[in-house]
Point group: C2
């Protein structure tokens, strides 16, 4: 079955979806995106994704007022691609549109380019169970990491290093602090308290991070928004990443440092269990065996 | 006459040139570019542009071995668009190619996307004569500004601020130092000596900057590669920007500070004259009257 995608008002087979090389998304990374998880047809924290999208659009001054129409588009993509009974995701990208190349915004009112795809996204069962290994690298990204922009070259280059080192993600270090991963937020646990980098311009505030905040509150786990210093990482007993793709992903090793005995920690498991209860309707507990 | 562009081996009218929305240039800003000036059919410092392109490709690990074929492509674009007797420019963009979206590089060997256009680019006579006004903003870009990547969203957003403030460019300030403009290199003059930010990861080493280095050497003007501190700008008598589009552009005002009496300085004029002797075959001196 050919993949159906959405582009500027039309549902098309992917090979028919084409854009101009003058699209500012292509020339200037002048656009933003979202990835939304769909659990058997149900979007996860949809409104939170839309609110973040609106913040990103606003930050880069792209005028797009039709966010209320997106849910219908996504639902149809899920259906047309027969993903409504599966674990899936939606990718959405909005750029300023296509115009003669100028560094400043084009003077005329452009039509935004809206591109969306749907794809199967199975839970990463093995990794969710055993935890993953990550490396660390300097956080060389710009100072507006809070914008979910498509200017992802830095993330791509750094994540590629992780892959080449046999690691599953790379955590980023700015002025000695762990900010986040290349496409995930980072959390560390010490004395049963969870620490994560505060919101602001240095991290992309994740939607799964919002879910973790809520879960911690429900479970009476203290969540402290303070940066974790890389050189103090041995004071922490657990580490995990969150993200739309990663969900709640235990980290058992950063570079050469192994947490505890190399298996996911107690607090991480508690948060995983609570998360999967919401998302996989209690099935995941059995599947993953956590 | 319809514009002819080059895309992946073909010369096409622009409206026929189309790319996949899965191009990594569109999803990840995973590509690099060059803009080369053509003065009546003659490229300016062509080899230097190609060497920089190769450095950029290497830095982002895009494998493209056909740089030797680019000159023929550019020449044909200049001819087909009837620009060979005009002042023109070539835009070249190379991305990693099109693939299913993954943060890491795709495992299969991709065909790079090669896109090139030709356009008329008249000298900015008025501004070259009277000088321009610029604003300053924090340099929020990533820490690999030496790569000429298409991840230009920061440059775009900052330059747009300049335009909205009625300025012609924005100079960027990192830790108190002037690094460069959003699409130009910056130079200041004090006691007949020229100062500019040193090469390294904080600036894009411009091709016109290379020309300035050569001209300074020929004119026995000392060129010192040291950062200019923003708060010491009043100690400098002249300021100018360089770039493929700007050429040698006098700056007469930064924010509220006006240099000298608000007209381009003596050293700037000397460098302009020498530059235009190379590029406009002594015509520009008459045209611009400098």
């Amino acid at each position: 079955m050919p993949e159906i995608v959405y582009l500027n008002g039309f549902f098309l087979t992917k090979n028919k979806a084409l854009i101009s090389p003058d699209d500012r998304g292509f020339n200037f990374a002048d656009g933003v995106y979202e990835v939304i998880r769909y659990y058997k047809g149900q979007p996860f924290l949809f409104d939170e994704h839309i609110r973040r999208l609106e913040r990103s659009l606003n930050a880069v001054k792209i005028v797009f007022n039709d966010t209320h129409e997106l849910q219908n588009i996504f639902n149809r993509l899920i259906l047309e691609n027969r993903l409504n009974n599966l674990y899936a995701g939606i990718y959405l990208q909005i750029t300023r549109g296509s115009a003669k190349r100028t560094h400043h915004f084009p003077k005329e009112n452009l039509q935004c380019t809206i591109y969306a795809t749907a794809f199967e996204k199975k839970p990463m069962l093995k990794q969710l169970k055993t935890g993953i290994k990550v490396i660390s690298r300097p956080d060389i990204r710009w100072l507006r990491c809070d914008i979910k922009s498509i200017a992802l070259l830095p993330n791509t280059l750094i994540f590629q290093e992780a892959v080449e080192h046999g690691a599953d993600e790379c955590i980023l270090i700015r002025q000695g602090n762990i900010t986040e991963g290349t496409h995930s937020n980072a959390f560390a646990v010490k004395n049963n308290k969870v620490y994560t980098h505060p919101d602001g311009n240095l991290i992309l505030s994740g939607i799964t991070r919002i879910a973790v905040r809520k879960i911690c509150s429900e479970l009476n786990i203290e969540l402290i928004e303070e940066p974790v210093k890389q050189h103090e990482i041995h004071n922490y007993s657990e580490f995990f990443l969150t993200g739309t793709g990663n969900e709640i992903m235990p980290v058992v090793q950063i570079d050469n440092y192994i947490f505890g005995n190399g298996i996911p920690g107690k607090i991480t498991r508690e948060i995983q269990r609570a998360f999967f209860k919401h998302t996989y309707e209690q099935l995941a507990g059995e599947i993953i065996g956590i």
